[in-house]
């Protein structure tokens, strides 16, 4: 399964050490992917418990308090700890290959970003075993979260603070990588769409996470030291939290959905055997969506009482986003128009995505209609809407891309038949679950309710919705089974597995060696591999340099230790309000470990090492047989 395919047998300890210290973007991509998958499974399980509870009226499957913990952790985990890392997995694994880079700009930071995310996520999930999870919703509105007893909210604040730092670091890393590390000839307007969306969504991370960090910090000192940022009886204001949260929270949606758009913009042209229609307008639409994404946060607060003028402005701004999004949809349709459509598992996800996402988009416009939103807000209608966007848009992208990029990431193929079964079970389950929820909302059912009384007209729809959720669960289990089965599968050992690859990553023979490109490629146009292939270039790329020594960075355990330091400090901060004597020493110890690692890293220069020409030739012969990567 390893992307460094030296077939020497290594012990478990050595492999573990390799992964703990790796700075290789491909391995980190895999680690992001599997960590994301783990949290996706946990949050999906929480969703199942939620739907079982709501299957029938007046159910007592879970208690009211536990239900609130489940819904909070489901939302928080899915957005921060599942969708984000899964997409980061693809960004890490694919973007450097698409732009012809040997690695990301800051491999050390890449590793640090992962470990901060992972330990922050782990910290948040420990709350289940240490006195109760957060229970104020993923939005954690200030009045309720300050009122919430126990340590749940502290876990939320500290866990997200740590994992958010990791996400921010990764975002910056991608921006620098894409701006500075493109191969010669890879101009901005030749970059594949997935690279473009990664760039824009990383820019959104850069601007959106700081407001969240500020909000979480205010909440932290409110709860730890009794500051009064949000306590209105002491002059604080809870609406400030709503603004800070949504100034982050709305761009967050685009942080996730833009890379999903990017993935589909890679999948659709390959299986339509046709160039992406309207490339430049796709790029323009991406940038415009990213920009407008910051102008609309208050549409989450139409009922907060901001007044008609604010509501009117944000309503119109929100509707404006529909325009670039619509451009994208039409461009995808025109890409398959006149093409030669081959239905494969990745493609069927793309085909399922278009109508599902359009359905989610139009309900978004309906909610942008502020006076109508007074009815829809915080009802099941909004639950249906954002699940259509997130599941119909982002999750289908992740599942489709999993099949699409599995050969590059793991040199194996996912079973196609099982892939179709998973698609249909999941896709039907998805519509069954969420379509009727629109009507539940319109019929007056508020969201985030742990139970409901019988005979309000909601019983049947809730029951059907729960059946759909169970189908989605079965689909995900089968997908994991498919992944496990692929371990036993035959290695792919070829380039361009799908036969119609266009961008640079398909020019590489799998398994991809740890240095990616033995010679940096020369990019001669948009869809470089397609160009080379159709000019009869058997090697798949033209090289920009002769074969020479390759400079690579050393692995390092420091990112893990630094993250553990923050993890330890978080426990001190968590118990500080209880007045325990060890809290401050623990905070100092944890931060001390992190700072010590930073000092060590600053004084001990890692100059990296060179892979010599002869070693490259030897490795390539070992990987691909006589003649190397030809």
């Amino acid at each position: 399964m390893s992307s460094v395919a030296i077939s020497k047998k290594t012990g478990f300890g050595a492999t573990l050490w390799d992964y703990l210290t790796t700075v290789d973007h491909k391995k980190l991509g895999n680690m992001y992917f599997f960590a994301g998958l783990l949290f996706f499974a946990i949050a999906g399980f929480e969703a199942l418990l939620i739907r079982i509870q709501l299957m029938v009226p007046n159910n007592d499957f879970v208690s009211a308090g536990l239900f609130n913990e489940l819904l909070t952790m489901h939302g928080t985990t899915m957005l921060f700890l599942a969708a984000t890392p899964l997409l980061f997995g693809f960004m890490n694994a694919i973007v450097p290959l698409q732009i012809g880079a040997r690695d990301v700009a800051f491999p050390f930071l890449n590793s640090l970003g992962f470990w901060l995310f992972f330990l922050g996520a782990l910290f948040l999930h420990l709350s289940f075993f240490m006195g109760g999870a957060p229970d104020a919703g993923w939005t954690s509105y200030a009045s309720l979260s300050l009122y919430s007893p126990g340590h749940g909210i502290d876990f939320y604040v500290l866990g997200l603070q740590i994992s958010g730092a990791g996400t921010l670091i990764s975002g910056i890393n991608f921006i620098v990588t894409i701006i500075t590390m493109r191969a010669p000839g890879m101009t901005f307007m030749r970059m594949p769409l997935f690279t473009w969306t990664t760039l824009i969504s990383s820019a959104l991370i850069l601007f959106a996470f700081p407001p969240l960090t500020v909000g979480l910090f205010f909440m932290l000192v409110d709860r730890m030291f009794g500051a009064n940022f949000f306590d209105h009886t002491m002059g604080g204001n809870t609406i400030i939290w709503e603004h800070l949260f949504w100034i982050f929270g709305h761009p967050e949606v685009y942080i996730l959905v833009l890379p999903a758009f990017g993935l589909f913009s890679e999948i659709i042209p390959v299986f339509a055997r046709k160039r992406l229609f309207g490339y430049s307008s796709m790029v323009f639409a991406t940038i415009l969506i990213g920009f407008l994404g910051f102008m609309v946060w208050a549409h989450h607060m139409f009922t907060t009482g901001l007044g008609p003028t604010a509501n009117a402005i944000f309503a119109v701004a929100t509707m404006a986003i529909a325009v670039p999004t619509g451009m994208k949809v039409f461009n995808w349709i025109l890409t398959i128009w006149g093409g030669s459509i081959k239905v494969t598992v990745p493609m069927i996800y793309a085909l399922g995505f278009i109508p599902s996402f359009v359905a989610g988009g139009v309900t978004g416009v309906m909610q942008a209609t502020a006076p109508l939103d007074y009815q829809l807000h915080d009802s099941y209608f909004i639950v249906a809407h954002f699940h259509y966007v997130i599941v119909g848009g982002i999750v289908t992208a992740i599942f489709g891309a999993t099949h699409f990029y599995w050969p590059i990431m793991f040199n194996r193929v996912l079973n196609e038949k099982l892939g179709y079964i998973v698609f249909w079970v999941f896709f039907i389950g998805f519509h069954l679950t969420f379509f009727l929820q629109h009507f539940l909302g319109l019929m007056g059912m508020p969201r985030r309710v742990f139970t409901y009384q019988a005979d309000q007209g909601w019983d049947l729809y809730n029951f059907i919705s729960s059946i759909g959720a169970i189908m989605m669960g079965i689909g995900v289990i089968l997908l994991v089974v498919n992944m496990l089965l692929s371990i036993k599968g035959k290695p792919v050992n070829q380039r361009d597995y799908w036969g119609d690859g266009r961008s640079l990553e398909w020019a590489l023979v799998t398994p991809v060696p740890f240095y990616n490109f033995k010679q940096t490629p020369l990019i001669r146009g948009y869809d470089p591999y397609w160009i080379e292939k159709h000019e009869g270039n058997k090697e798949g790329m033209t090289y920009a340099e002769p074969l020479g020594d390759i400079h690579m960075p050393h692995g390092s355990i420091l990112p893990l230790i630094m993250s553990i330091g923050m993890f330890i400090a978080a426990f001190g901060a968590l118990y500080h309000p209880d007045g325990v004597s060890w809290s401050v020493p623990v905070i100092i110890l944890g931060i001390g470990i992190t700072v010590a690692c930073m000092i060590l890293r600053s004084f001990k220069d890692d100059l990296g090492y060179h892979v010599h020409k002869e070693e490259i030739i030897a490795l390539e012969e070992e990987l691909y047989g006589k003649g190397g990567n030809k």
Partner: protein, 366 residues
């Protein structure tokens, strides 16, 4: 001819939507069966936007399905090499401009309604005697119950809002502890009750609630507020203007009413000793809106539900008093008194039964 056909199609689409949507839900809670002017306007906006959106979905679906069916590789041949088109400026302009036009059309009613619903200037209007001309209700949301005070009438009630039909009723919304949201789905959209500022809006009640299933419209808390958020229901009784005036008069007549510890009635005496500290039995309390510790019980006997959601009968009331935590986890009534049959400071079964009888007898309508 074509134009007429298109109009007819649009109309039939609208008609189908109306039938489909209005078939959904119960009339006392569904936004699809609006019983007030605000809700009706929102429902029309729903139909209008859904029609535009359905049009978008249809256009996209037709293009998409056509492209998918026509350009399959099985039809094109395995070796078919499509023309590698870069794009089309004309098409880009078309699908940029047409959605903008659609959105501009949608913007017009959006802006009109936004300002209309936001207009609460009438709350300040006074007649020649300096009395407010509009009916104003102060809504205070508390963990997990609602207080409704009528500041200009000097009365207060809880859990069941009583309003007249046929006029705009204005609301001052505030939360006493954490944020809640005030929503009567079949009457109109919601507005949050914030902790730090008073939100103002109005609703109109067009139909009397008497003929409904429980004789009331259902109201909901729409903002997560803790474990019992799902149970923080209230009810709305709408009365014809004369009936409302009569109700106000009989509520005012409860002035000075109280429970006495020395009463011969065990229920009243127990209530006075254990409950009166939080629950007033007079609607005219003289206290500022929102300051009551517990729901005002002066019209308890007229309610349709206990604790906002349980069926109205003595059995439920007794169970509720014995263990409110079982029904509404996290409520603030739990622990304010002791229940048991052993010590004199505990409420015995007999006392609770008597208290229930007493509370249920508090009525202004019977």
């Amino acid at each position: 001819m074509m134009k007429g056909l298109k109009k007819w199609r649009l109309f039939s689409l609208l008609a189908v939507m109306t039938v489909f949507l209005s078939a959904c839900g119960e009339e006392y809670i569904s936004t699809l069966k609006p019983a007030g002017a605000v809700g009706k306007e929102q429902f029309n906006l729903l139909l209008f936007s859904i029609t535009i959106m359905a049009l978008v979905v249809v256009v996209v679906s037709v293009l998409y399905i056509y492209a998918f069916l026509k350009f399959r590789r099985s039809k094109q041949g395995e070796d078919y090499m499509p023309k590698q088109v870069e794009g089309s400026h004309t098409l880009e302009v078309i699908w940029t401009v047409i959605p903008i036009v659609f959105l501009l059309i949608l913007t017009v009613p959006t802006l009109i309604s936004t300002y209309k619903f936001g207009d609460v200037a009438a709350m300040e209007h006074v007649d020649e005697n300096g009395n407010k001309t509009a009916l104003i209700v102060d809504v205070t949301a508390k963990l997990y119950w609602w207080e409704f005070a009528y500041p200009d009438l000097g009365i207060v009630t809880a859990q069941e809002l009583v309003v007249p039909t046929g006029e705009k009723v204005y609301f001052n919304l505030l939360a006493a502890d954490v944020k809640h949201s005030f929503w009567i789905p079949s009457i109109g959209g919601k507005m949050d009750t914030n902790v730090e500022n008073i939100n103002k809006f109005y609703l109109e009640f067009d139909e009397e609630s008497e003929g409904l299933k429980d004789g009331v419209f259902y109201g909901k808390c729409a903002e997560l507020c803790g474990p019992s958020h799902a149970l923080m229901d209230f009810k709305v009784k709408t009365l014809a203007p004369e009936a409302f005036d009569a109700w106000v008069a009989s509520m005012k007549a409860t002035e000075g009413q109280t429970a006495s510890k020395d009463s011969a009635d065990l229920g009243e005496a127990t209530f006075a000793a254990s409950c009166l500290g939080c629950h007033a039995v007079s609607s005219v309390t003289g206290m500022p809106s929102g300051t009551a510790m517990g729901p005002n019980l002066s019209a308890f006997g007229d309610r349709s539900h206990i604790a906002g959601f349980l069926d109205f009968n003595k059995e439920n009331l007794v169970s509720w008093i014995k263990n409110p935590e079982k029904y509404k986890p996290g409520n603030l009534m739990t622990g304010k008194y002791k229940v048991g049959n052993n010590n004199p400071d505990e409420l015995s079964d007999e006392e609770i039964s008597a208290v229930a009888d007493y509370i249920m007898s508090l009525s202004v309508e019977k």
